[in-house]
């Protein structure tokens, strides 16, 4: 191989490999369906169960066409490429916390005219969910699910340790620490059961709120991540993990769980207690219907319930070619009657399988009243009956994170900070100080300050 040839290859390879890394992907097409009806294209949504398929069928019927469902989770690169190439989908389904990032850049259509023309009753939606999809007093999405965070306790685990579910009390930090340690089981140096999983970094906002801290100001423009009370909450939650063997073994053990299967961590006695989203009730009802567990609201140190809610939303890209039909479609998808039909479909399925139906928690208050008032009947399964009642109680104290034009960066800043603490790279105060700096810079940049 000659020297000149080698040099040429080296230089050409360096140039070619470095600067051609980012490629785009196309959006959907808009071929008319049979009979001239519009085919709506979607991104970020999947028809995985009867709750989704029932609603999609009804929404399709409303517009007289058939929406193309991608069955993929929301992919920022895919969406961005589609928007940049002026080929966006007609509808996009995404985490409500991300919505502000795209709304602030003019990617999403404000829904005021949609609400007006379709006479959508906004009062039916829950206020914390609406707050997440409202940026600078403009509505950019219609909320779907309403994921409450509650405390879940595995009765068998606490009984085997000589405790009662009351011993898992976030309002009494000393008691919780003692219970967590007592419930932790080890097999040599390996964890065999987690006593209490504080679910950080993902649930940090609920720990912050329980300590009286809002991580983001109401207008979504000021970060509050270096508040000493938040640092104290993080120190406490990290301390719980350290007392149970440290982050490395804790996460490795958690990663080995069959979270959605019959050998789920409650059934397999691998997890005694944790704060969790309400949808896990449905998972347990499906795969471990006879399991005994207790659900209680997460509480602050004064014993008051604290419930951080999140969820997804439907939005219409600003360059959508079928805004009118898209508006009709999302109205139906999030409408109370549609949710009720979906809940009935789930109930019928569960009845046929002789499994409890623990409800569907939606961002639609009217739908929830009917679902939990008339459709959910758990008289024969007191464990689920009590669990659902406690979720509904927690729901009354729900809060959401405000919409922010730098939602994605804000979330990355605090999650990265918690991960640095967990992996021992930084102390809580230093990590949150860095997160505050990064988050505020992103917020300032996004708001033009």
């Amino acid at each position: 191989m000659s020297k000149r040839y080698s040099r040429s290859v080296a230089v050409a390879a360096a140039a070619a490999l470095v600067l051609t890394g980012c490629g785009g992907v196309g959006g959907g097409d808009d071929e008319p369906a049979e009979g001239g009806a519009v085919t709506l294209t979607t991104m970020g949504f999947g028809v995985g169960d009867e709750i989704a398929s029932t609603r999609v069928d009804l929404a399709d019927k409303t517009v007289g066409g058939k929406a193309k469902i991608g069955n993929n989770a929301f992919d920022a690169q895919q969406f961005l490429s589609a928007v940049a190439s002026n080929n966006p989908p007609d509808l996009v389904y995404m985490d409500r916390q991300l919505l502000g990032t795209y709304a602030a850049r003019g990617t999403l259509e404000p829904l005021e005219s949609c609400v007006e023309s379709e006479q959508i009753d906004l009062d039916q939606y829950r206020d914390p969910a609406l707050a997440e999809v409202t940026l600078d007093d403009k509505l950019y999405g219609l909320p779907e699910f309403y994921n409450n965070r509650v405390l879940m306790v595995n009765d068998a685990s606490v009984q085997s340790a000589g405790l009662t579910p009351d011993a898992i009390d976030p309002g009494d930090r000393d008691l919780l620490s003692q219970s967590a340690t007592k419930l932790t089981k080890k097999n040599g140096s390996d964890l065999a059961r987690i006593g209490f999983d504080p679910k950080i970094p993902e649930f940090l906002p609920i720990w912050a709120k329980a300590n009286g801290v809002d991580m983001l100001s109401e207008d979504g423009k000021t970060a509050n991540l270096d508040d000493p009370k938040l640092v104290a909450a993080l120190e406490y939650a990290v301390g719980l993990i350290q007392a149970q063997g440290g982050w490395g073994s804790f996460k490795a053990f958690r990663d080995s769980f069959d979270f959605f299967g019959e050998e789920n961590p409650f059934a397999a006695d691998q997890l005694a207690s944790f704060p969790m989203e309400d949808w896990y009730l449905n998972v347990l009802a499906d795969v471990s219907p006879d399991l005994k567990f207790t659900v209680a609201p997460f509480t602050d140190e004064q014993g008051q319930p604290v419930d951080w809610v999140t969820g997804t939303a439907w939005a219409i890209p600003a360059a959508s070619e079928h805004k009118e039909q898209a508006c009709k479609w999302i109205k139906t998808m999030t409408d109370s009657e549609t949710w009720i039909a979906a809940a009935e479909a789930r109930r019928d399925k569960r009845d046929a399988e002789n499994k409890p139906f623990s409800g569907v928690y939606t961002g639609n208050e009217v739908a929830d009243e009917k679902i939990f008032g008339e459709i959910v009947d758990l008289a024969d399964t007191p464990v689920y009956d009590k669990a659902v009642k406690n979720v509904l109680e927690a729901q009354e104290s729900a809060f959401s994170m405000p919409s922010s034009p730098a939602g994605s960066e804000f979330r990355t800043a605090w999650q990265d900070a918690v991960n640095r603490v967990l992996s021992g790279q930084q102390a809580p105060a230093a990590a949150m100080a860095q997160a505050q700096q990064e988050a505020q810079a992103a917020l300032d940049n996004a708001t033009g300050n």
Partner: protein, 317 residues
Amino acid sequence: MPAPANDRKARTRRWFAGFRERETWAAYAFLSPWIIGFLVFMGGPMVISFVLSLTDYDAIGDTRNVGWANYEKLLSDPKIRTSLANTMIYTVLAVPATMIVSLTLASMLHRVGRRSAGVFRTLFYLPEVTPKVAVGVLFLLLFNGQVGLVNGALGLVGIDGPQWSTDPNWVKPGLVLMDIWSVGGTVIIYLAALNNVPRDLYEAAALDGVSAWQRFRHITLPMISGALFFTLIVQTIYKLQTFDEAYTAFYGSAASAQYSNDAALFYLVYLFQQAFQFLHMGFASAMAWLLFVVIMIITIIQVRVSNRFVYYEGGDR
């Protein structure tokens, strides 16, 4: 030595004169698909990338000229330093590891019979065609600190394995080990080079009573130094741009992103975050150019250093 000016002029004249021949046009016609492809898919994006690096651009709205601000931000952003350091450490670990393992495997293949070599060559190459995303997912399964196969195997010999996916000190070595799994391409290159070493050199050395190690050190290594140099350059460039496995394992999904680890924040992962997650296309473009410059400098150093160590059969033409 630089060519004399009149030589250069003569060469230029000859080049232009070539266009009087039909064969020259035919040659360029055959080359045109590559030339057009290069201009459209590489040259064009490179120019646009540089222009974008001087702007504030979110890929949706209009661009706003910000001059060199993005380049100034490269100096002040602590995550640039973190991601560059991670990438450098990974490259320093992964390139020699890849070359040593590949050369060992190629030497073993070179010794076995041709028929067996074909089977093993295929087996060694198979992981190369495994999607990198699958490798990233596999990493989390194999390297799980409690139930992973790797720590299970280490446990059999009494070693308490580390927490590969959470301990910042072990994340990169774990990814390097995973990367070594797919060395098939480099093995094939080395095997071809080994096959080209004249056998009479070994025979002469054997007659002189030279040991196996000395044969390897004084015959094999110099004779395949061209291939070694080529893979050193290509592997360095490739490793400096590592993305897929780390992104899939630590950042790829909403769930995995919650447990991201700064030790796995490689340069291209951070570039991707800036471009597609935070919508800072201008800054991401500046990041791409910084990496380009870094790679260029490293490549030039490698080329210069190679003058001392690489044997070129044709001499310095």
